[in-house]
Point group: C2
Chain length 111, copies 2
């Protein structure tokens, strides 16, 4: 199993795929079995399993066994750090936008 240098690596990498984001959206509605999660996708169960492993490695889903069934649940907590990382940059471009707006206002005033 690939080990990530930093937890953020796992979360961002996991979110960088539309199938994996769709799986998270599905689990948002509630727990589901692997078969239920795989049903809407036009891909093999094996391919879906690989995506599930990436999500598990990132800590975004939890798997429990109930008898023979594997049940999956969303754990959005690791997104917290990812959100904070991005928000920190949002401040960067917001302040840039503010400066740009001020500049535009200044220019309009002068013209």
């Amino acid at each position: 199993m690939v080990e990530y240098a930093q937890p953020l690596d796992g979360v961002f990498t996991a979110l960088g795929d539309p199938t994996r984001r769709a799986i998270l959206s599905r689990l948002r509605k509630g727990e589901a079995t692997v078969t239920e999660v795989a049903a809407p996708f036009d891909m093999s169960l094996n391919a879906v399993s690989k995506h599930l492993k990436v999500l598990e490695r990132a800590g975004l889903i939890r798997r429990t066994r109930v008898g023979r069934e594997h049940r999956l649940a969303l754990d959005a907590a690791p997104m917290d750090r990812a959100a904070r990382w991005i928000i920190d940059y949002q401040e960067f471009w917001e302040s840039k936008l503010d400066r740009m707006e001020a500049l535009l206002r200044q220019r309009r005033k002068n013209s």
Copy 2:
């Protein structure tokens, strides 16, 4: 060049690597040449260039040529969608989000 199915794929994938996040951190301080960006990393210029391409493809950096030099600048705007995607999962970790908001308020107060 790999084409992403959705813009979010490119942004999240780009952020899923510590070197690429470090490059963005460097560019946050201001524009820089490729050589300047590559300097702190213990890797070949070729390896750094590959990371730069991933960041460009995601729209997170812009490259301009000044004579022979390639200058790089951060463009954090594509992170906006990524931030919104993550924040949408807030109901799963609302209390954490409250803490994040408090953190942001604190930061604004201090700045």
